[in-house]
Symmetry: C2
């Protein structure tokens, strides 16, 4: 029997309408590509989203059309988030750090019709313009005064495009499962894969994300998402801002320590969101100029694991709590968050730091389990390793235009991570499943080994892979880049590790290299390293 409740769809337009009526004066502050700081209110942003929707309609954009962006975190990108999805079209946010051939691939695969581009990224498009002929026109996200010379054709100016449009627009109503936005992963193998979010998934994700147990966002908040709006919708922060009326500070192209510090000093955010690399730059900059954070309560770290030193530095030097979060493009992205708890309050700082190193507990709505090679569930004891499977109303069920269902198991998504889950449902990411080393039936975490090895003062980057071994199937091999001038030996590194890891985890050899290969987004490309060194131990033994 069905209940008697209105069948109201959960739509992104509902968020911006709520914001317009309820939080009209909330501020959105952006560093623009043009160089200055732009500030306006939520109500103005909403009105300009409607002008944009009218302009897109005039251009002929229809429901389902893909409208792409190559843009920083700024106010015009915010308007695109609501204007494009709100009218029923699909916002495709492109990661400008992809290689040119990947850009070509995804623009064609997505069948983008228009592309909105920040001044910074015009050269990227000029270089590939002949290979993306499906694009009907480029809209340069600036005003007439800043329009550049370009070899692109069918070029419009954003401000001119919208200026004469009405700021009234009746957002259409449609099924909440309508696609709203599209984001491609930059995988380490093959072509990027598209993740097509729905209005429903976006709204439910935002609602879950603002909860205290997740990112703790409300109208009092002032958020600085350094995580890019081209990367999983800046972790949903634009939607969360509309939902709550939080102030939004958008750093534009200024992701370096000095630019971020300038914004922090003037706008006083209490919530920062980004990857560890960004915070390392910020912490170094603040140290160099002798400044401390005083407005910041929480720093949300995702993308890769936060090191202990960073958790401590934020806490002890800046009084800021580091909220370790974990998610994936395939998860909108939020899976878990390690928010402060009552239990932590009663712990010593050292105990608390150890807990903070974990990726946190699932946000309400996300289910997770770890399984063995036969997909049997493994215990939540904090010790057992297993492949991490997740499901929930903002997790994908397939990739965009892709029949491959190999990542989907009985309705669960295989994250490709190996993890532990403890009795309080804290997730600990151990390794990527393709990187974990299977030695004599036991698993060794390549990440744990790398983290220990990088502690050696003469190493600047480490990569641990499993290589073929006649007796144990696989054994760990450590590749390392030495500091300039260092002559540290393999034996010295192994000595250094000997009291830090289990004996059977000891890498069989240490190879010093001049460089290591990386993906477009800076992750180690272990697949290439493995290819090169696969037979390393076999050869050594045969030699």
């Amino acid at each position: 029997m069905q209940g008697n409740i209105m069948a109201r769809p959960l739509l992104i337009s509902g968020l911006i309408e709520h914001a317009t009526l309820t939080h009209p004066d909330s501020e959105i502050v952006s560093r623009r590509c043009e160089g200055d700081i732009h500030r306006y209110t939520m109500k103005e942003a909403a009105q300009r989203s409607k002008k944009l929707a009218n302009a897109l309609s005039r251009l002929g954009a229809k429901q389902d059309d893909r409208i792409a962006t190559l843009a920083w975190n700024n106010h015009r990108h915010f308007e695109l988030y609501f204007g494009v999805s709100g009218m029923g079209a699909i916002l495709h946010t492109i990661n400008p750090r992809l290689f040119p051939e990947q850009l070509v691939y995804i623009i064609n695969h997505a069948e983008d019709r228009w592309l909105f581009v920040d001044l910074t990224f015009i050269p990227l498009l000029e270089a590939i313009k002949d290979q993306i002929s499906n694009i009907e026109g480029f809209v340069i996200m600036t005003d007439e005064a800043h329009m550049p010379e370009t070899s692109l054709t069918n070029v419009l100016c954003y401000e001119t495009l919208i200026q004469d449009e009405s700021d009234e627009f009746e957002w259409p109503e449609f099924d909440e499962n309508q696609a709203a936005s599209l984001c491609y992963t930059s995988g380490t193998t093959g072509n990027p894969k598209g993740v097509l979010y729905t209005h429903r998934s976006t709204v439910i994700h935002a609602q879950a994300e603002i909860a205290k147990e997740a990112l703790d966002i409300g109208s009092y908040s002032c958020m600085l998402p350094v995580v890019p709006m081209f990367h999983v919708n800046a972790w949903g922060t634009p939607y969360a801002a509309a939902m709550t009326g939080a102030k939004l500070v958008l750093p534009g192209p200024g992701m370096d320590g000095a630019s971020l510090w300038e914004l922090i000093e003037t706008e006083k955010p209490d919530l920062l969101l980004g990857v560890p690399t960004v915070w390392l730059m910020l912490l170094n900059h603040m140290e160099s100029i002798g400044k401390k954070l005083d407005s910041v309560n929480n720093v949300v770290v995702g993308g890769s694991a936060a090191p202990l030193s960073m958790i401590k530095k934020f806490q002890e030097d800046h009084g800021a709590f580091l909220v370790h979060a974990w998610g994936m493009t395939e998860m909108s992205p939020l899976g878990t968050a390690n928010a402060k708890t009552r239990l932590m309050d009663s712990m010593s700082l050292e105990e608390r730091y150890q807990l903070q190193l974990k990726q946190g507990r699932p946000v309400c709505g996300i289910e997770m389990k770890i399984v063995d090679d036969s997909n049997n569930e493994m215990p939540r004891d904090g010790v057992a390793y297993g492949r991490l499977l997740v499901r929930g109303p903002w997790v994908i069920s397939s990739y965009f235009k892709n029949d491959d269902q190999s990542s989907f198991i009985d309705g669960w998504f295989d994250t490709g991570d190996v993890a532990t889950i403890d009795p309080h449902n804290y997730l600990g990411i151990v390794d990527r499943s393709k990187d974990v080393i299977k030695s004599g039936g036991e698993w060794i975490s390549s990440i744990d080994l790398e983290n220990e090895a990088i502690g050696h003062p003469e190493l600047i980057e480490c990569c641990v892979i499993g290589v073929a071994h006649e007796k144990w199937d696989e054994r760990p091999l450590l590749l390392a880049i030495r500091k300039e001038g260092s002559n540290v030996t393999a034996e010295e590194i192994k000595d250094y590790l000997s009291d830090k890891i289990a004996k059977w985890w000891m890498p069989d050899d240490v190879v010093f290299v001049a460089s290591l290969p990386h993906t477009a987004t800076g992750k180690l490309l272990k697949i290439e390293v493995r290819k090169k060194y696969h037979d390393y131990l076999l050869k050594a033994e045969n030699a």
Copy 2:
């Protein structure tokens, strides 16, 4: 085009599963009918919910079956919330304050199969047992030691029913629009009407409710919902507790000031939820024993409007912020909440109190508008009065087994309230639309007049109604109950009002009465007063 997201249903079982895994140690403390305080953890509650689901299955309960409760806020009622809805049956929470003939009506109308009853309410059932023959059995919510003598037949003991059941139960998956719970309104006219909530509406409502802009609930919270679990699911607090891991303090039958204070002193809640009458009793009790609240941050008040004196008393004597909320059984119930804002921080206390008197801003998900008699939208200027219409994913689209669609207008629900909406989307409830007085084309709020009149020190209750008038259609008539021994006159009351209200609002007469009629839930039954006095002014003029 649909996105590629898992079709995961939003189910109540998902909340309790999340709680079991993520917040197993959260406390639930109850005052039991048996007289003592009971405490256990969320994990134990979840296990007992599963035992209950197994027991119900053994009794033959199936999806869609209505399982009724007549119970206070306590741990067994909590288990029923999750066990019954979780297994796909429908939890019908009965208001024991209804008149016997209304109890008979709703038990039969709902077609309840089993009825779970607290010790307190057994006599209510014994009195009507011959008229509710559809009930297959009664489960008394106690243990064997406390089982009473009763004339009810087919009686089971709750603890005995569940004790041998397994605490493993696979919650079934079904459509999120499946009915989850049923609650009847105690209207002032006709039979009570049923509101049938869905799993989807319950989960989305809980998620919206915990937001900072709404009731601000997280794992740090300790909630004391005095609002009954038989009244719109205690405003959703049991679901919110499972979602967040908040500690839940359930007052059982102890709704008086002394019992509440005892719980507050020992359990230290930071969030209280209830109707003004309850807080009046608590405030009086604390005053009489010279105690202050020290753990409480927020007091959520709904059901009827909080008077200014209460807002001030909580703030100035107890350091607690009164969150004025507004909702309806038909809205799950939360519509608006008047949470603290940054703007309030910059106001004088007097300005802030004036704003706190409003019912607050819509929770994200609820849309509202005011309309005139032709259903044209009226301005959001804080001045214009109109009929309040709402819509949203937790608002009803019809009453249970009821074809009457007169409250539904173009997909909006007509709340039956007359209200203002200001430019920041704050709602001000002016009157019930059937009570507002239409005098010469202008509207007069009967509630505003009552609130002013009750300020006179010699009156103890007031009722203002519109009565027929030859020239103005309707004019206000004030009926009042004097304090014992008072001889205050109609002229003296009018003098008192003369500088407090607009001249044309002045009641045409003041009639002193010995008593006024009320509904089962304590609301003035103005319909009866109007019937009696409809021609009062016509007769007076004719006389």
